[in-house]
Symmetry: none
Subunit: 145 residues, 2 copies
DNA sequence: TTGATATTCAACTAATATGTTGATAATATC
DNA sequence: GATATTATCAACATATTAGTTGAATATCAA
């Protein structure tokens, strides 16, 4: 997590605050366990213990994952007594979608480029095909002891 | 960054590989400097030194940010001699958009256009080279302490 | 050849992330 | 009141991130 994820008052700077929130949203989405939590909350509001049940980690760990989601604005918690009900808030996810959508023009561009190259290939079949990006780097990860 | 960012051989597990790539894409997008790099690449392919220029960090730091983007599949580097030209690959970003779009029905009533455009493009056949633009633009980055 | 340029690698440091276990607070339940 | 349940907090260990500086690699240019 970069320094941008740190919560600062962002005194009066709304653009910086939006950037900051966007960073937190994308970071929150970068973990598969957190994405699974969101998937579950997409269906129904749930307790922390219910959200933690499917995973092989402690409920404390899940609680902190939920806190990450809360800080990103993706989850709201309403605590009544012991239990804390978590519910989805897709507002920040929409902001993320808007950011990504600014690249949608290039999806169309890629589509057009492909169509164009296909047309060219149809006329001149000896031309080579386009390369597909493949990511297969290895990075070390932590394992449960 | 969670354990999910670690790559295991993923022997034959295509779903796990897709999850893993999604984690890396969202993580790559969670840093404002990396997002700024993508913004720049949205306009034109650029050298590492050109991408590093607007930021008050060392070129080595930017080089590693680019590596994060490359491992997420968002940036391709073609090195010719000394220089390494970075270009955008929006394919993985599209995958991220598709994931987010599954939450769109929550906001679809208000923001119908985005979901519609995403869904329209959702049936693209393949990834190809991105288009070019000649607009130059700089954005502010983080400051040195 | 010599030197400047472009980029990456290596080693180090500081901060952050994520997991654990144990303690604590608040509230149901007996 | 005594006890179990729900959730969070605290402290700790370890891994990862992200920055730095210095060295290495490769190429271009004079």
């Amino acid at each position: 997590m970069s320094t941008a994820h740190a919560i600062e008052p962002a005194a009066g700077n709304e653009a910086a605050h939006a950037e900051e929130l966007l960073s937190r949203v994308f970071f929150a989405l970068s973990d598969p366990l957190r994405r699974s939590i969101l998937e579950r909350l997409r269906e129904q509001p749930s307790l922390v213990s219910e959200l933690a049940a499917p995973f092989d980690v402690s409920i404390q760990a899940v609680s902190r994952h939920i806190q990450v989601l809360v800080r990103a604005g993706l989850v709201r918690q309403s605590r009544t007594g012991r239990i804390s009900t978590c519910s989805l808030d897709v507002g920040p996810m929409f902001d993320a979608a808007v950011w990504i959508n600014r690249y949608s023009h290039y999806w169309q561009t890629q589509f057009d480029t492909l169509a164009h190259s296909l047309e060219k290939i149809a006329r001149r079949p000896e031309k080579t095909e386009t390369g597909k990006s493949s990511v297969n780097r290895t990075r070390s990860g932590r394992k449960k002891p």
